[in-house]
Each structure stands twice: as structure tokens, then as C-alpha cells.
């Protein structure tokens, strides 16, 4: 059947079930359910500008992900078929990771709640960084301990603590521990304890 003939046939039988009967496509998985629109659809994976090779951020199995990008936006995330870990598969969470990274609920600006405040306020990123740096320096100074109660040298602050998630990169954890250790902050913890 030519393309022209197919279109004619469709227009004569607008109800898909009639086309199914006419074509003998009982399961409705063949030509009878196609339309011009579906013929024109291309997978987002085929039209992407580039693919980044990534890893699923949920559990620790470490499934490979292919992240498809078009116009600098993530348009699809799929399991990496080359990966010996997951052979292209993803679970419901991994499959939802495009939803995770493109969600409209994501925070994109710094929110600030002042002491006793009842609502969030917006804060410029660099201002917020300045404010945090000031607080770190001040708290460290105010809570500095050269010696403990047994007169043992400890050179630390017990005023600053941190709890990190386990979706941090190794490189990030490395810098976090390095900086806090140099600053004398020791209450540095991670989901790994939990």
C-alpha cells in the first residue's frame, strides 16, 4: 500500500477499531493504530544534541545512565546498554531521574529565613556565601578549644557540625573533610553512619 493509499484508507475508517478489523490487526499493535502524527514522531534519544554518560543517583547498585541533551536541556535519561551493571535497565526511581533533574519544584535561588522570621526571603548567591563564611569564621572563633578538660591539646571547634548525604561525589567529600579538618571542625558526619 502506498503512503497515499494508506491515508485514504484511514480517512475512510476514522474509528481505529474498524481499521483493526479491516486490517486483521486484532491486537491493535500494527498499522491500524498509526496516524500521520505517530509516523512523524521521532524518539528524543535520536534527536538529542549530545549524550552524557552518567550514573543513577538513587541506590548503590550503580546503574549506568545515558543522559540525552537537546538545546542544553535534559530531554531523556535511559539505562546504559553497555553497562555490565544494569545492561540498559533502570528501576522506577532511576527511570524517574529525568523528572528529578527537570522538576519545577527544584530550588534555583538561595532562600533565607532570618531568626524569628515567618517566611522565606530571597538572597543573592554571593551575598549568601559571604554570610555563611562570616558565620563560620565567627562561630569557629567563639567556640574554639585549644585544650580539653584534661588539658590535652585538641585545637578544634565543637560549635560547627555537618551531616552529608551519600549522594555526594568522592571529590566533594574529599574537599569537605579537608576543609573542615583544617578549620578544626570534627563533628562531620554522613548518612553512612545512619
Amino acid at each position: 500500500m502506498t503512503e497515499q493509499a494508506a491515508r485514504t484508507k484511514r480517512s475512510l475508517l476514522p474509528w481505529p477499531v474498524l481499521r483493526q478489523l479491516a486490517d486483521g490487526d486484532i491486537l491493535g499493535r500494527g498499522r491500524s493504530v498509526r496516524s500521520r502524527k505517530t509516523d512523524e514522531v521521532e524518539p528524543r534519544t535520536a534527536t538529542a544534541d549530545r549524550v552524557a554518560r552518567s550514573v543513577c543517583p538513587y541506590c548503590a547498585v550503580g546503574c549506568g545512565q545515558n543522559v540525552f541533551v537537546k538545546d542544553d536541556k535534559v530531554v531523556q535519561i535511559e539505562g546504559d546498554p553497555d553497562s555490565p551493571v544494569n545492561r540498559g535497565r533502570l528501576c522506577p526511581k532511576g527511570s524517574a531521574s529525568k523528572n528529578l533533574v527537570t522538576s519545577e519544584l527544584r530550588q534555583t535561588t538561595v532562600k533565607y529565613r532570618r531568626p524569628y522570621g515567618t517566611e522565606w526571603e530571597e538572597l543573592d548567591l554571593h551575598t549568601a556565601m559571604d554570610m555563611v563564611a562570616d558565620r563560620v569564621v565567627r562561630t569557629r572563633r567563639d567556640s574554639w578549644q585549644d585544650f580539653d578538660e584534661h588539658d590535652r591539646k585538641v585545637r578544634r571547634t565543637m560549635g560547627i557540625a555537618s551531616l552529608g548525604g551519600a549522594t555526594l561525589d568522592n571529590e566533594e567529600n574529599y574537599l569537605i573533610k579537608k576543609l573542615f579538618t583544617a578549620m578544626g571542625a570534627i563533628q562531620i558526619e554522613n548518612q553512612a553512619r545512619i
Partner: protein, 899 residues
Amino acid sequence: MAEAHPVGFQWVVEAKKRGARIIHVDPRFTRTSALAHQHVPIRVGSDIAFLGGIINYVLENELDFRDYVVNYTNAATIVSEDFQDTDDLDGLFSGFDPETRTYDPTSWQYASEDDGGEQHRSQASTSGDHVEHRDTAAGMQHESHGHTASAHPPRDETLQHPRCVFQVLKRHYARYTPEVVEQVCGVSPEDFLAVCRAWTENSGRERTTALVYSVGWTQHSVGVQYIRAGAILQLLLGNMGRPGGGIMALRGHASIQGSTDIPTLFNILPGYLPMPNAASHQTLTDWIDSVRNPGAKGFWANAGAYGVNLLKAYWGDAATPDNDFCFDYMPRITGDHGTYRTVLDMIDGKVKGYFLLGQNPAVGSAHGRAQRLGMANLDWLVVRDLFAIESATFWKDAPEIETGEIVTEECATEVFLFPAASHVEKEGTFTQTQRMLQWREKAVEPPGDATSELWFFYHLGRMVRERLADSSDERDRPVLDLAWDYPLHGDPEQVAAGWGEPSAEAVLKEINGFEVATGRPLSSFTEMKDDGSTLGGCWIYTGVYADGVNQAARRKSRHEQSPVAPEWGWAWPLNRRILYNRASADPEGRPWSERKAYVWWDPEKGEAGEWVGDDVPDFEKTKPPSYRAPEGSDGVAAIEGIDPFIMQGDGKGALYVPQGLVDGPMPTHYEPVESPFRNLLHGQQANPTRKEYRRADNPLNPVPEDGRPDVFPFVFTTSRLTEHHTAGGMSRYLEHLAELQPEMFVEVSPQLAAERGLEHMGWCHVITARSAIEGRVMVTERLRPLRVEGRTVHQVWMPYHWGQGGLVSGDSANDLFGISLDPNVLIQESKVGTCDVQPGRRPTGRALRDYVEGYATRSGAVDEVSTPIVTASSDAVRRSQEAQDEGKDQHAPHQVEDQ
């Protein structure tokens, strides 16, 4: 596994297709059970009794893999005659001090070489401050470390000596009969023996069995000993270091393995080096020697190089041999600074500033109310996350707002919520659950002001250094001398303005290590020098940047390489995919069987033979199986050709652990801290050495005494749903996942539903001494009441993903738990507790607190009358302590000599 690690579970299904038998031991019937050959429902918190029963079955019937056990484990090693077991001491081991509730492990040690009572220095050296050992979770150093023991303890390879480990183990587990398993675990002898038979019949030369656990196992007051019990069984059956065997910890977060390897943990530094403590690490030499452990075998002997390379990576040019590589710059720990201690200190006003980095303790940590009250009492809080999670918004919508315990207008905490970059908006490595690092490419720029942690901490460090630049205060030297010079890249405008993205690849290269003079990346930690000529941030990761190539970024298709897939990512150490794989060959270096060949000795290879095979051999490449250590050797030279466990102090797999564990050399069954049952085996009810914080805001449900009405009669546990992730920060805000699992629910058996009048899909609430939470009732046969100690016990199951935020909200199951911790690693017991369940919704407002406090008072869960921790008979406590004192007298002269 099918629920929480579905894609990993495909390999179980694959194995099943090839004929493997799948057994699922779980209180609840899940998607895993649905695909298993056998589902064994078990009482939550009774796993050591169950595994102990299998160990007993193996030993009684002599089903152990004897050639493996004699050569590769410490079965033959003779234990000190001072050691006394739980059978003799009502559930305690020898050496217990009831004042501090810690053990002095001196009596647990191996007998000395001349068997005359003197201990090797390596065994005696760390039996010092046991409270500190617990408080600093010092056992964690043993993750890649193993226990420290002398290199050449006396052995009886016939395994007949009454004090050899094999016989000690046999006596210890003799009580764990099928009848005891039935009484304690609620597992029928038929079910139990079927597991025993399947496991043993599928182990040996020709076959191997894998033990897979998810990390709920670690969330018990005896969590480390659960895993130890698994390790004993797998060693007895010869399943370690062999293909198809092993103990697979299914960790729950993308890089939780990485987060311990390169820790953000208070007690360890990268590569499991200990954080220096004020008591015993005042000098570089003290610190190094505590790791190096002179006198023991293995690769920790080079700890001096690992430590110096870390210091050099931290302080760069400032770190020189003359100033002990700035060791003095290190802050010192003095005890328990774990996350739960810190939260209680927040409530007490001792902590001022707190960073939460992709973590949501308001929902994800045990005792959510304590978490939120702690945050409400800070000066400032920085939250970095993708979404406005509960830990960022507690000041306006925590459950405590409703109860009046937090009043927004009176809460002084200043909160910064920074938007974080997602996993596709930055580059870097995750380490997955099998120690494999995989590099992620950056796909797109983060939206708006979202930034990576790398960006945040690099610039925070830069800004703090700028603020301190003119300081002459000695305390600021470690900050100012820090090697903090990372190349910036990304948006040229941002780079020009000084706000560029630091290069993750440059950080990875520093982690890997390089020659200081030339910048040449190191290929192996064996190239690390202790003179400052090399630096490297994490010795176990050395090799990930070998030859200047980012090995973690390798993506050779699985179709183009062997099933071991050595060219996909990179696994530590040195790209070994199965640890201790020398054990996959027999003592002569031949595969145990053709079917299970993996790594073997090829005498024809190289100059005089080499280890070869499918994986990188986890053994010195040219050390032949016939190598025997020279008299008096230690370190790497002392590892013999038949010592596969190269990080252990004696080179052998540990059936019995003479040192390094706070709560005993062998797992023994204790009841969970909250249990409706008395310990059937001993007077000692629960782990006597557990870490507890006894305070009014941390009440624990008491074990009911005879005659007292059971206020909290049921056992509850929690786990994950396939469709949600942990505290929900990455799933409750997503439309698809929120729709798939929209609401908090409570699973109960039809029998419990009938007993309490619970209606399917109606409301119910669950009560403990900490809180009451509500959810929809799910009446299901997935949960079955069990018969334990002659009575019926109902178990209740809940997911723990909900909080008040997100697209779908609900009460948080972690609010039900109190804080009591495993003494070895300070992880909370949050997989088992006792509770009541009632139909209908919970009270709201202040009435909720009154309701919960009413329960607590009725149960006796108030501070003054809380259950005693040491419940062994006073006679047993005295004898345990005396055994220690005798041991001390005997060994004292030698210890003094050593100092």
C-alpha cells in the same frame, strides 16, 4: 533486594535461570520472596540466633570446607586460656567492667607463641581505653583493616586442641539448636533445616553460595555482629574470595561506599586512617604506629606512607619532615562526636552552626522529634538540596509546630537553603556498592544559582582563608597553610570573576596521589613514600588516575570484555573486583575446581611464576604459594603463600575476632533493646555494651516485666518501597513516584487487624514512647504472626519515606524510634522496636504529646525506672570481671616492658 535494589536483583533472577536456589529470609513477604524458592519469615532482631543455628549445623555435622578452613581461616589458632565464653558467664564474655559497660579484650587474645602466657605486643597494644574505643567507633578502621593480631600465633591444624578457634566456636554455637531457632526466631525446624541443607550443599570445591544483605542489617544494636555471623558461616563454607560467593552488602545510596572510603565521618580520615584522638595520638609516630601495628602481618605495615601522603595532600608545601608533615595541625577527637551525640548537643545548646548536605535528618534519622528540636536550637543552619525538604522548613511546618514545641516567631535559627546541582549537572565519581568508582560526565549546567558541593566548599574555603589572611593566630595556620589551589573552569565570565567551578578531575588526581616533583600520578599505593616526595589523599584509591588517565571514566562495553568487566570503571584496591581472591585457589595455588577457577598460580609465567586469572590477583603477583615467612618477620614479608586475607594481622579469615570489636569475639544472640521477649539463651538481655543516651527526651520502651501489662506488645520494623528513596527528598517531590506510592501506610496481618479492629484502607496509628504516627491500614498476609517462646508475636511493617513536605505527605516512621546505638560503629537501632497499634487517627496538637506521654508512663519508659542494661547475674558479672583481673596480673609485666 527486588524492592530496594531492583536492577541488582536481575542478577539473582539470572542465577535462578541457571539453576541457583534462592532463599529469602525476611519478616515480610516481598517482591523478593515472590521470586525466591523459599521465603522464611523471621522475627525481627533474631538473626544471630538464626545464623548461629546454621553455624551449629555446619559444625555438628562437620560440613565445613575443611581444606579452606584449616589453611585460610584462624580455625586452628589457639585462644588464650583466660578466655571465658557467654555460656559460662550468663551471656557475657570475660573481661566485662560493669561500671563502664565495656570489655577489656585481653583475655580474648590468641595464646602467645610459647603458650606461656605472654602476649604479643600487637595483641596487647590497644587494650587501653575501651570506653574511648566505643565512643570513637574505632572498629570502623577495620573496614579495610581487619583485626590486629600477632603474625605467628600458635596453631593446631588438626583442629582438636580444646582452645583452638574451631573448638571454641563449636562450643559457643552448640546451644543454637533447631529447637532454639524455632523458639527465638519463630522459624519452624523444617524451614530452618531446608535453609541449612541448601546453603551447605551449595558450598565447597565445586559450588559457592552468596550471602546478600541490605544495610538494614547494620541498623541494630548488634549490627556488626549480624554481619560477623554471616562472615563466620561464609568462611566455614569456603565462600569468601571466590566467584559466586562472598557477602554482598547492598548499600542504599549512590556513593555511600565512597562516603566511608573518603569519609565525611568524625572518626576516620580517607582510606580508613583514624582521626587522631587526644588520648593516644599526640605525635605523628603515635598515630602511625596505632595503624601500622608493628608485629602484625599485612599491608597496614606501610601506614606511615599512607598517613604522610594524606598530610602532604592536605598541607602541601607546608608539610615537611621537620614539622612531622603538619600532623600537629590536625584537630583531636576525644570521644563520641557522632551525629546522634551532636543532635543531643544541639538540644543542649552546645552546637551553633550545622550544615546539611543532601541529607534530611528531620525524616531520615531516628527520633525525628529530637532532630527537629535540635535544629530549632541552632544559631544558623545551612541546607543544600534540590528541594525545600523538611529539614529546611521545620521552623514553619514541623510536627512540633502543631504540638506547640516549636513556635515560629520564637525560633532563632537562621536558615540558608542553597539550591544544589543534580547528578547530571556536575562531574565526579560515585563509588557503588562493590567498591567500583564510576565517573559521571556533566550533561548540562545547573539551573539558576544551583551549585555543586565542590563549588560550595571550594569557595567557602577560599572566603574563610581570605577573612583570616592577616591573622597571626596560631590556630589559623592550618587553614592558611592548606593546599587549596584547584584549577577553575566552566563559564569564562564566572572563572574571570573568581567564581568558577573547581576541577573535579584535579581533585581526583590529588586523591590518587602523585610525585611532588614531577606531578606524575602514582599507579599503586606501593609507590607512596613516607618522606614527602609523594602525596595522595586516599591511599586505597591510588591507581584510579594511573598513567594520568581517569580510570573511573572507562566505559568499555560489556559486550567487548569478560564478565568480570575490568575495563568498566575502576574498583579499589588496584581494580580488584573480588577481594581476597587468592582464596579462589587451593593452598598449592590451583583452582579449587575448574568450575570455580578465578585466580590461580601459573608457575610458567614470568621469571619464576605469577598469579594470573580473570581478575587482578589480590596478592603479591610473584609470591608463590610455597612462600613461608622468615622467623620474626612482620608486615608484607610475613604474609605467607597461603595467607589470602592480606589485611588481617595474621593473614587468615577471622572466625573469631581477638581484637577490634567492642562487644565480643563471636556473635551471640541478644534481644533488641526494645523487645517483648526475654533472652532465651542468657540472663543478659540485650547487648551490654551498646551506646545509649539516657535522658528524658530519649525514652526507650522497657522490656515488660512479669505481671506488668504489655503497653507496647508488638514488634515493628521499617524498610523501603521500590518507588521511594530514603527520607523522600529525591522521590516525594517527583510526580511519577509520588503517584505510584501516594500515601503512608501500615502493614498488619489479618490476625492483628482482627485483634485490634483495624480496617483495610482505614486509618490506624502506631505508638511508641517517642511519638505516635498515623497511616492507612494495609491488611495483608505478607505479614504472618509468629510463634516465639511459646506465644504469638505480631509484627508491623512500615515504609519510612514520608514527611510533611513534597507532593505527597504523611507521618514519618523514624519518629517512632529512640536512639540506642551499636557500640562498634555508633549506628542506631532503627530496624526494630516495640509499639502499640490502634484504629483511627492519632490525636493532634498538644493532645498528641499527652497521649504519647501517657503511654510512656504506663509502660514505665520514664527515666527513673528504665530497664537496666546489665542483666546477667551478679555472680556472672563478678566472674567476668575477675577473669580480666587475673589476666591483667598475668600479663602486666610484659605490657610494662613494652612501654
